[in-house]
């Protein structure tokens, strides 16, 4: 299927214009005096630009030739290049969609009328963030990529610090800034080595770099650290939960749904330069992916904060994508084309899927926070009465993220399962077969997490009677959520369409012929599964009709929930979210724990007592923080040079300069 639209405009050019428009969409708001029109104008600009850009992207995915644009600017190192190839196009598609949805959402979530100053800032930096992310995907040389990478990091930090009075937000912002710049340092190493070896910053053609062993090793590790820190792969994930939890909801949607993918794009792009990868690299990526997936969802299952839970689940999904990438790399290394196809197809489909349902969940969380006034799951409950239209949309998102049929999450995981099974069947790499139980475990934990989330937030009765009595989300918030939910359903039922989208990228990067691709993916029964999904929905309808018929024949009564004879049930007696996940948290206490502090219980009839419990993270508390403390202790002697005398500091500089002047005498 090839989309050929002869609208006479070069798709790359229209895409670049769209990116520029999105980037500048926040400016009118700054210039206009009255709050309100600026926001609406920016939403209109972003929507039109996103639609226009998506047309261009689909053209490129459909096979239109992509032109290269040279950015001739007076910076050193020469002009920079911009171009769009199928890989960039694949990642740009969800970016533009998210741009549309989140800007529309922001219209009601952060209305200019109520918070004019904040809204202007958020609109401006959202536009900048989207444009810089798009430019990262479109850049074809290292210098431009580093510049827009920094812009991306800083604009996302500015958005993160929207609620800057909150102490938690400040801490999250500091950690985020440090983590992202650590990653950037690794990226500088990578691009410096690239320049050193090839003589320029321009990206080499795919599979063209053949360097010595050590240089390749260092470059690959640097790329993995630099891009992996942005993607949130364990153990570089420590900034993720705090950052995504404390940003405004539509910004979290952008960060979680798109920015993590930019990191994944970077890894793929960096790895694709090399002709010959070391054997262990694919296994390393696979291992990191598996570890991220399991620990991510384990962390998520123990969280009590709504948005932290969703953020930790993003770590899990990135892990799944890395599992796919690792499988593909191992397949390419060992010449197993089938494994490579399945791995890449699964990874790319999951990229698109995650960018559909994670923003949906975050936008829904924004609606929840507006209605309840809190982020603590244990205090919510019964919100589906206040949010009758948001609740089903959130349910669609939860089902999709657990990978349950008939929605789209299942399709991506299906390809990964096929990769695992097909290699488990053959003699060559049976270890890959272990991927299937790992994915199954991750899926099971995901079900725990999202049943807990959906049940504790929307179902039952409100656990805290002082909860804010909110109202249903306005239309501007419901529309993007509905769009994303509809796309999840569409992608689940129309899975062959998804495969068409990722086909060109998989063919290019797995190095296979289109014929082999069709042959191999033909083994995946997307049509039959689509048929069965339809049958499932039909059977649900039939059973429901039968049940309705039976119910209406007999008397129906309402009553309170049966409490085994207990006369005075209260909402506080319900299972809270943390109670629900306590069993699994106890079993995986190696990864995540719960620390409880009990005080006040003494004697036979204690008057009052306090119990507080907080979720702890083992990897963070027992590995990363102690190692950082160790580093701090080792460098403590340097502290003596920091005596606080400003003039002595300047004198240091002067003395060094003077010394160099004398020393350089011929």
């Amino acid at each position: 299927m090839v989309f050929v639209w002869n609208i006479g405009v070069d798709p790359v050019c229209s895409l670049l214009w769209a990116i520029a428009l999105i980037g500048l969409s926040g400016l009118p708001g700054l210039l206009l005096k009255r709050p309100g029109p600026g926001q609406i104008l920016s939403v209109c600009i972003t929507t039109c630009a996103a639609l226009w850009g998506m047309a261009g992207v689909l053209q490129i995915l459909g096979g239109a030739p992509a032109t290269r644009y040279l950015l001739d600017w007076p910076l050193p190192f020469g002009p920079s290049e911009l171009s769009v190839d199928p890989l960039s196009a694949l990642f740009l598609l969800p970016l533009l969609l998210a741009a549309l949805c989140c800007s529309l959402y922001g219209l009601a979530y952060l209305p200019a009328a109520s918070q004019p100053a904040v809204e202007k800032r958020v609109t401006l930096f959202s536009g900048l963030l989207l444009a810089s992310m798009a430019l990262v995907l479109v850049a074809r040389d290292g210098l431009l990529l580093l510049i827009v990478w920094e812009i991306m990091a800083l604009s996302s930090w500015m958005l993160l610090m929207t609620d800057q009075q909150d102490l938690q937000v400040q801490r999250a912002g500091t950690v985020y800034l440090l983590a992202t710049h650590t990653g950037s340092m690794a990226l500088y190493v990578f691009f410096a080595l690239l320049k050193g070896e090839t003589g320029s910053f321009v990206f080499p053609a795919a599979h063209s770099l053949a360097l010595g062993g050590t240089v390749t090793l260092v470059m690959l590790v640097a790329a993995l650290i630099g891009f992996g820190a942005k993607a949130g792969i364990m153990p570089l994930h420590i900034w993720l939960p705090g950052a995504h939890a404390n940003a405004p909801s539509h910004v979290s949607a952008l960060m979680s749904g798109i920015m993590l993918k930019v990191g994944i794009y970077g890894i793929i792009r960096a790895v694709s330069f090399f002709q010959q990868l070391p054997v262990w690299f694919g296994w390393l990526v696979l291992l990191l992916g598996a570890v991220s997936a399991i620990t991510g969802i384990a962390l998520a299952s123990a969280q009590r904060d709504l948005k932290r839970l969703l953020a930790c689940s993003s770590i899990e999904n990135i892990g799944i994508i890395c599992i796919g990438l690792g499988m593909a790399l191992v397949g390419i290394q060992s010449g197993d084309r089938v494994l490579a196809i399945f791995g890449l197809a699964g990874a790319f489909i999951h990229v698109i899927n995650h960018a559909l349902f994670k923003p949906l969940l975050f936008l829904g969380s924004g609606a929840i926070i507006h209605a309840s006034g809190t982020r603590q799951i244990d205090r919510m409950g019964g919100l589906s009465r206040i949010l009758p239209r948001t609740a089903p949309l959130f349910l669609v998102g939860s089902l999709a993220i657990c990978g349950l049929p008939p929605l789209n999450g299942f399709v991506g995981e299906l390809f990964l399962y096929f990769g695992a099974f097909s290699d488990g069947m053959l003699a060559d790499l049976p270890v890959i077969g272990f991927v299937a139980p790992i994915l199954a475990l991750v899926g099971g934990l995901a079900v725990i997490t999202f049943v807990k989330l959906y049940g504790a937030v929307f179902l039952g009765v409100a656990r805290d009677p002082e909860l804010a009595h909110g109202h249903e989300s306005p239309l501007a918030m419901l529309l993007p959520m509905g769009l994303l939910a509809g796309l999840c359903l569409l992608a689940g039922i129309g899975a062959p369409l998804l495969l068409q989208l990722v086909a060109p990228v998989v063919i290019q990067y797995a190095g296979v012929s289109p014929l082999l691709f069709t042959q191999v993916t033909g083994a995946v029964p997307l049509q039959q599964i689509a048929l069965l999904n339809g049958l499932l929905l039909a059977v649900i309808l039939v059973v429901w009709l039968i049940w309705r018929f039976l119910v209406q024949r007999a008397p129906v009564a309402a009553s309170s929930t049966w409490g085994c004879g207990y006369l005075a049930p209260t909402p506080r007696m319900q299972y809270t979210g943390s109670a629900f996940s306590e069993l699994i948290t106890g079993l995986i206490s190696g990864l995540v724990g719960s620390q409880g502090r009990l005080s006040g219980l003494s004697g036979a009839f204690p008057a009052s007592a306090r119990f507080a419990s907080v979720t702890t993270e083992r990897i963070l508390d027992q590995m990363i923080i102690p190692s950082l403390r160790g580093a701090d202790w080792c460098l403590a002697w340097l502290r003596r040079m920091q005596h606080g005398h400003l003039h002595l500091y300047i004198l240091y500089v002067f003395a060094t300069l003077f010394f160099l002047m004398v020393w350089s005498q011929p």
Binding site: A391, P437, A440, W562, L583
Partner: protein, 303 residues
């Protein structure tokens, strides 16, 4: 072909409650009682479908949708399983993944419906159900991978019809491990002893029973039937694996299958009468042990 398929569907729809009846009769026999008639579950279902419903005021549409979606998912999963030597009604490459995930869908809705009631009992049952099911998933997939490797196919029908006496002779150890692990999966997924006691309704012992505490009337009938169907489906998988007897004759195969299913029901009844329910802390250990067993079986085959 057509009458065989018709019989397949009929058996699928009609036999499950009979299994429950046989189990109960077995347990009664062990206890020295006469016990309820074999067809009692059918009478129970008929009675429940006639009864009125009581809905709690805390519940929403999710509570009403729970039993419906659960039964629908189990029905679709039932279409994917071969009965005896007769292939499944729908069979394609990779249907075993859909099979496992359909049960996941059913579980999601059952547990959400349980949380909808706002009662601590249902919450407790839901928490236990999701946790133990999560531990069962890797075991199931290890079993599936081992079977896929042995039968060199990715569809449930060839995988389950594959084990023949020759296979048992050549790979007997791993088959035994698989069968053992699958039996544990069967008992865990259907909430039978030693994981859960389907007879009592005390909160300390319940997983499945307490989750459906608040359902009444036709909805409870749907749940009961769905549970029986799940037992039948997973039992069919077990029987296919455990009994390699395959004659060419269609009639003999069907008779053998029905007899094997009834024997399985008796076996479950025996296990229920002989063992007590495990302490709650032992259940994860048993499930992890089953995972290790199935992983070991996979390693034996892979080697």
């Amino acid at each position: 072909m057509m009458p065989s398929t018709l019989f397949h569907i009929l058996l699928l729809l009609a036999m499950p409650p009979l299994l429950l009846g046989v189990i109960n009769k077995t347990k009664a026999a062990f206890a020295g009682r006469v016990g309820a008639p074999y067809l009692q579950p059918y009478y129970d279902l008929a009675k429940l479908f006639r009864k009125g419903s009581v809905f709690s005021s805390t519940t929403t549409w999710v509570f009403r949708a729970g039993p419906v979606v659960t039964l629908a998912a189990t029905l679709i999963a039932a279409l994917l399983v071969p009965l005896g030597n007769h292939p499944a009604i729908i069979s394609f490459n990779g249907d075993m993944i859909l099979f496992a995930y359909l049960f996941g869908l059913a579980r999601f809705f059952t547990t959400s419906a349980a949380l909808d009631t706002g009662s601590p009992f249902e919450g407790m049952g839901a928490a236990r159900e999701v946790t133990f099911a999560c531990l069962v998933e890797p075991t199931l997939f290890f079993i599936l991978i081992t079977l896929a490797r042995m039968s060199k196919s990715l569809s449930l029908t060839p995988m389950l019809i594959y084990p023949s006496p020759a296979v048992w002779v050549s790979a007997g150890a791993s088959m035994l491990l698989l069968v053992g692990a699958l039996f544990v999966v069967l008992l865990a997924e259907n909430c039978r002893i030693p994981f859960d006691d389907p007879n009592t309704h005390l909160e300390l012992t319940m997983i499945h029973e307490v989750m459906v505490l608040d359902h009444s009337g036709p909805a409870f009938g749907l749940i009961l039937y769905g549970a029986a169907l799940k037992l039948f489906v997973l039992g069919a998988v077990f029987v296919n694996l455990a009994l390699p007897f395959k004659s060419g004759n269609l009639l003999v195969d069907w008779v053998a299958f029905v007899a094997a299913m009834l024997f399985l029901a008796v076996l479950i009844g025996v296990v229920e009468s002989v063992m007590a329910r495990l302490r709650m802390v032992r259940i994860p250990q048993l499930l992890v042990a089953a995972t290790i067993l199935s992983a070991f079986a996979m390693l034996l085959i892979v080697r």
